[in-house]
């Protein structure tokens, strides 16, 4: 290959040549050139990308002052002249093109070598709203949006500490997505930070449309059905996780922040648990665990009981179920499989359907699939109840819904083919898989396996805030103290005196 082509083209002092070079690399029609003259009639031009540049700012802070002053001869003079808060020099054509594509116009002045990159990016963003997947009754309602800078600011607003670090990288040959690794120095494990940076830097891909791409690259078992990386859309949750010792990864264009290391138990925690009384929070957590258990095992247990072990069902209930299934064409296992498939189709359709047909489809789902199917003898009422209960229970933990759906189906298949013992074997297999899986040195099933008693107080049950004086033992950061209990006790006793 020609060495000359490999080497980046240097920006010259000739305005037209620079513009030509830029247009050669960026021929797209949305790359525009704004030509104007300086006070001493020297040609100036700003090359920018239409739609992502703040033209008003360009005009008022760049063109206007220049039109009233002498043309700068150097970049330093230009910077001094313009008083621009964000500006830097573009050394070559490639760098200039990169900045233009990022929304930062490049100013060229005839006779001035190089180009001045001006930070006037303006992207139309959506408002900060409450995310749909993490609705709380009590607590903050802010959620991340698609702009990584805004997201960083949301974190900075909550963690006003010098220990908060952001390390940015560009990922994606064409998308050049800005990916930012955020952590608290002294609290997060440095080895984890380093490993994440290495993994992200090693990514060589065309584009990164969402943070889930990054998640795949930093996961050690990307094919795993279980999550390896934590996710959240809420800055308060993210900050709380960072304060526990996790590392956050933000990607431009995605409202979902990633956190590592990840534990399965954290999906059972809700931010609301920390804003309500510990007793209520404990009950909620236990309910969630029971709901997940029911979501997974209820359909499979129903199939296994009907096919293999009638004794599981009390006699009176058995007679009701038996009465309901006598005339059915499908066997219990096929009936359950069919209903679960319909449930998944309904869920998929409800996510994607336009709002104006939602009502009609709800009627179809309820009446046709529910009532009419029972009357037609395709399915039985008990099976519909089981599937409905299972479906609702799965959404008590929205982050695990995908995993639960697949596992539920697998358990039904196993229950229908191998039976009750098959359910136990699959459970054992899943357990073995989970206990042998780690997320950046943190076991997925911590603090249950390995058992870390101290961390159970914020997992199975929610203890009082004063008892959470140390960070989770499962993370390896140096600074373990969260809450200084002794000072408070001293204040209390001083107050009493």
């Amino acid at each position: 290959m020609d060495k000359k082509q490999k080497q980046p083209k240097i920006l010259s002092a000739d305005l037209n040549e620079n513009i030509q070079n830029i247009k050669a690399v960026l021929p797209a029609e949305d790359i525009l050139v704004y030509k104007f003259t300086s006070g001493d009639d020297v040609q100036c031009a700003a090359v920018y990308a239409d739609g992502i540049t703040d033209k008003e700012l360009l005009g008022s802070l760049v063109a206007r002052p220049l039109s009233l002053a002498k043309a700068p001869k150097t970049i330093a003079e230009a910077e001094k002249l313009l008083y621009f808060p964000e500006s830097k020099e573009a050394e070559d054509v490639q760098a200039a093109c990169g900045e233009i594509l990022a929304g930062n116009p490049v100013l060229f002045v005839d006779g001035m070598g190089g180009g001045l990159v001006l930070g006037t990016k303006k992207v139309t963003l959506r408002a900060i709203t409450e995310p749909q997947t993490a609705i709380t009754v009590k607590g903050p309602r802010e959620g991340f949006i698609e702009d990584v800078k805004t997201n960083m600011s949301l974190i900075r607003r909550r963690l006003k500490t010098p220990a908060l670090r952001f390390k940015s990288m560009e990922v994606g040959r064409h998308s050049k997505t800005l990916v930012c690794v955020a952590y608290l120095d002294g609290i997060a494990d440095e080895k984890v930070v380093k490993e994440i940076e290495q993994r992200i830097s090693a990514v060589d891909i065309d584009g990164v449309p969402d943070s889930s791409y990054i998640a795949k690259f930093i996961s050690k078992k990307p094919y795993s059905i279980f999550k390896q990386i934590g996710t959240t859309e809420k800055p308060d949750i993210l900050c709380a996780k960072m304060l526990e010792g996790r590392v956050a990864i933000l990607a431009d264009g995605s409202p979902i922040a990633l956190t590592v290391p990840y534990m399965l138990a954290e999906d059972f925690q809700s931010s609301q648990d920390y804003y309500i009384s510990p007793f209520r929070a404990t009950v909620s957590r236990i309910l969630r665990m029971l709901a997940v258990f029911a979501a997974l095992y209820l359909p499979a247990a129903y199939v296994a009981a009907e096919l293999f072990k009638l004794q599981l069902i009390p006699l009176n209930l058995l007679l009701i179920i038996s009465g309901g299934t006598q005339a059915l064409a499908l066997s219990p296992s096929l009936e359950m499989f069919f209903l679960l498939a319909v449930l998944e189709i309904l869920i998929e359709a409800s996510i994607r359907m336009p709002k104006y047909v939602a009502l009609a489809l709800s009627v179809i789902g309820a009446l046709v699939l529910g009532d009419t199917a029972v009357k037609a003898g395709i399915v039985s009422s008990p099976a519909i109840i089981i599937v409905a209960l299972s479906g609702i229970s799965a959404y008590t933990v929205p982050d695990l819904t995908g995993t639960l759906s697949v596992l539920r189906l697998a358990l039904v298949v196993v229950a229908g083919s191998i039976g009750t013992y098959g359910i136990i074997l699959l459970t054992a297999l899943i357990l073995y898989y989970l206990i042998s899986s780690d997320s950046y040195g943190t076991p997925l099933l911590a603090p249950f396996s390995p058992l870390i008693k101290r961390d159970l107080r914020d997992t199975v049950y929610k203890t009082d805030m004063y008892a959470l004086d140390t960070r989770p033992a499962v993370f390896r950061g140096k600074n373990k103290t969260r809450l200084n209990v002794n000072n408070r006790q001293k204040e209390e006793s001083d107050g009493q005196n």
């Binding site: 293999f308 072990k309 009638l310 004794q311 599981l312 069902i313 009390p314 006699l315 009176n316 209930l317 083919s417 191998i418 039976g419 009750t420 013992y421 098959g422 359910i423 136990i424 074997l425 459970t427 054992a428 297999l429 357990l431 073995y432 898989y433 206990i435 042998s436 780690d438 040195g441 943190t442 076991p443 099933l445 911590a446 249950f448 396996s449 390995p450 058992l451 101290r454 033992a473 499962v474 390896r476 373990k480």
Partner: protein
């Protein structure tokens, strides 16, 4: 990779050990010892406890693994041969419990299915577990402990109202039957061998003696309580109750509106049983890997599980004969491998403490460190150290 924590060893004895003695063992020991089954079991438990204490003592005298000790004493080839023999023994000792579990599964879980289809998938799970190593033994024990504690408590609470403990009287009248029950029960008491293979794979902690001791006592008490309750419920028809754990709690729940709610807890205990049955297979694979020159676990695990599946199919109609053969004719094999050899390990040549171990122990994560670091035993909550999460 092959790491286990002391706490997990404790849980192994508190949870995984008792559950294997709740299927056919109660009926078997009551056949020999009748109402003195507690004495029979207590003898076995005492013996096992003594061996366990000696193995723990050995762990405090050396940081080396059992393989390293054998290698030091007899050389590498002999050590591999001995490990090969242990691999065979673990596989051999797993066969009867597997058959037992198969019978339990087909009778309690099913009414109408070919047994092979019901039970064969167990070997898939066992294969997966064997490939994963020691770490999973310990972590499985962490999971098994609370499950066992809850389920065992519920089942015993449901069984206690029906138990008449005076059926255990008179004490000591069994005579020769007590010793026969102990001797022929040796096949169920091989758990004391496991810590020998954990040597060098766990960090000693302060108070390890009483921690392991208490957990062992808890497990032993669970076994004795179960046996006592079992005999209190069934008395003279005890030897008919093949699947004891599934029988003792049904009388309280049989006529309630919820029906056999105890079956759910029995199924959960079956999960603990699966985890406990995988342990000898995992250890067999571990020994086989070392015996065959530190190869990966994949092929030994596959071979072992296929072999065990084959034996299970071959002997599917011969459980009684197999049990009689194992218990009455081969009891000495269990005595030698599970009791005599672990105790004899004290005679093996240990390296002086403080010298670096440059053997395969390091390759498998053995804790051959310098004396100063090792003497400062790990305190509870210590967060330093590389391999913290076992």
């Amino acid at each position: 990779m092959d790491k286990i924590k002391l706490r997990q060893i404790c849980f192994l004895f508190a949870a995984l050990m008792p559950v294997t003695k709740m299927i056919i063992y109660p009926a078997t020991v009551s056949y020999y010892a009748k109402n003195d089954l507690l004495l029979s079991a207590a003898l076995n438990l005492l013996l096992m406890g003594a061996v366990l204490a000696l193995v723990l003592f050995l762990a405090y005298r050396t940081d080396m693994t059992f393989f390293d000790l054998l290698q030091n004493t007899f050389g590498r080839v002999a050590a591999r041969i001995i490990y090969g023999l242990f691999a065979l023994f673990f596989a051999f000792s797993a066969l009867l419990p597997l058959m037992e579990q198969k019978g339990f599964v087909t009778q309690i879980f099913y009414e109408n299915i070919p047994p092979v289809i019901a039970f064969a998938p167990f070997f898939g799970v066992s294969f997966f577990a064997c490939v994963k190593g020691f770490k999973t033994i310990g972590r499985a024990a962490d999971i098994a402990m609370p499950v066992f504690a809850v389920c065992f408590a519920v089942i015993i609470l449901l069984a206690l109202p029906e138990a008449d403990f005076s059926a255990l009287l008179p004490v000591g009248g069994g005579g020769e039957g007590i010793f026969r029950g102990s001797l022929y029960g040796l096949t169920w008491y091989t758990d004391c061998l496991y810590p020998l293979f954990f040597l060098g794979h766990f960090k000693r902690e302060k108070g390890a003696w009483w921690k392991v001791g208490i957990c062992y006592l808890v497990g032993a008490a669970a076994v004795l309580l179960f046996l006592g309750t079992f005999y209190g419920i069934f008395a003279d028809i005890a030897l008919r109750q093949q699947n004891a754990v599934a029988q003792i709690s049904k009388y309280t729940t049989a006529f309630t509106s919820l029906g056999r709610i105890d079956l759910l807890f029995i199924f959960a205990l079956a999960l603990v049983l699966v985890l406990s049955q995988c342990v000898p297979a995992q250890l067999s694979v571990h020994c086989a890997c070392r015996a065959l020159g530190d190869i990966g676990p994949l092929w030994p695990a596959a071979a072992l599980n296929i072999l065990l599946l084959g034996f299970t199919v071959f002997f599917k109609y011969s459980y009684l004969e197999l049990q009689t053969f194992f218990t009455q004719n081969l009891w000495f094999v269990f005595l030698i491998f599970s009791y005599v050899l672990p105790v004899s390990a004290h005679l093996l040549r240990k390296q002086e403490r403080g010298r670096q171990g440059k053997t395969g122990g390091q390759k498998h994560g053995a804790q051959c460190g310098n004396r100063g670091a090792r003497m400062k035993e790990t305190r509870k909550g210590d967060t330093t150290g590389e391999e913290r999460h076992e």
